[in-house]
Amino acid sequence: MKVRVLAFARVRELLGSAREVELPAGSTAAALWDELAKTCTGLPALAKSTRIARNGHVVNRAEILHEGDEIALLPPAGGG
């Protein structure tokens, strides 16, 4: 299955703002993170501080992803 990954701020600087990722069906958010970390040495250091949203809602790492999901990687925010 394919999911669309959006990244922001520090994480965007590492991954680019958007990309498609191919994953085995039934993969979790954690599995997606590990897949991205394989090719991005800076990412593991941000694991603890980065929240993951699936289709606009923050989920935990055990969340099962589905074909076509929009997965957003959200480092600590600070708007205003």
């Binding site: 701020a9 949203a53 606009g56 480092p75 925010a77 708007g79 205003g80």
Partner: protein, 143 residues
């Protein structure tokens, strides 16, 4: 109006939009790019990015909470993204309410919660050429 925009923010237009004949008080907040960082370094500008849909939905939730807490009032929240210079408005909140205490309280609540909760990121650029992502120290869900 709950929006993330790339163009300059017109605070007066947002204020006009919330006002109705039942409202005696309109309070606006504008966040403006300052020439100095919190630790007093000279700033050339800020870059903002946002998860636009999640941010706009968060604005709407915050506004609903403010209406619930402080009484019936109309609220608009608009945040700008992209590269902003010193003096540019980064965020505007406008609140109309029958009386001023509700308008002030709702406006202050909305900007406080926006800074804490909205998926928006800010990079500060300094005159020396370096830059830094800034986070809100009392943000929600901080790890």
């Amino acid at each position: 109006m709950f929006a993330v925009v790339s163009e300059p923010i017109d605070v007066a237009a947002i204020a006009r939009e919330v006002r109705t004949d039942a409202c005696g008080a309109v309070v606006t907040f504008a966040g403006v790019v300052r020439e100095r960082s919190d630790d007093d370094r000279p700033v050339t500008g800020l870059s903002y990015e946002a998860h636009e849909n999640m941010a706009a939905e968060e604005f709407e939730r915050i506004a609903a909470e403010a209406r619930e807490r402080f009484g019936s009032c109309a609220i608009s929240v608009v945040h700008r993204i992209g590269d902003l210079a010193v003096g540019d408005v980064s965020v505007a909140v406008a609140v109309a309410a029958p009386h001023r205490s509700a308008a002030f309280a709702a406006c202050e609540y909305a900007i406080h919660e926006l800074k804490r909760r909205a998926p928006i990121w800010k990079k500060e650029h300094y005159t020396r050429g370096d830059s830094e992502w800034k986070t809100n120290p009392d943000r929600a869900n901080s790890p």
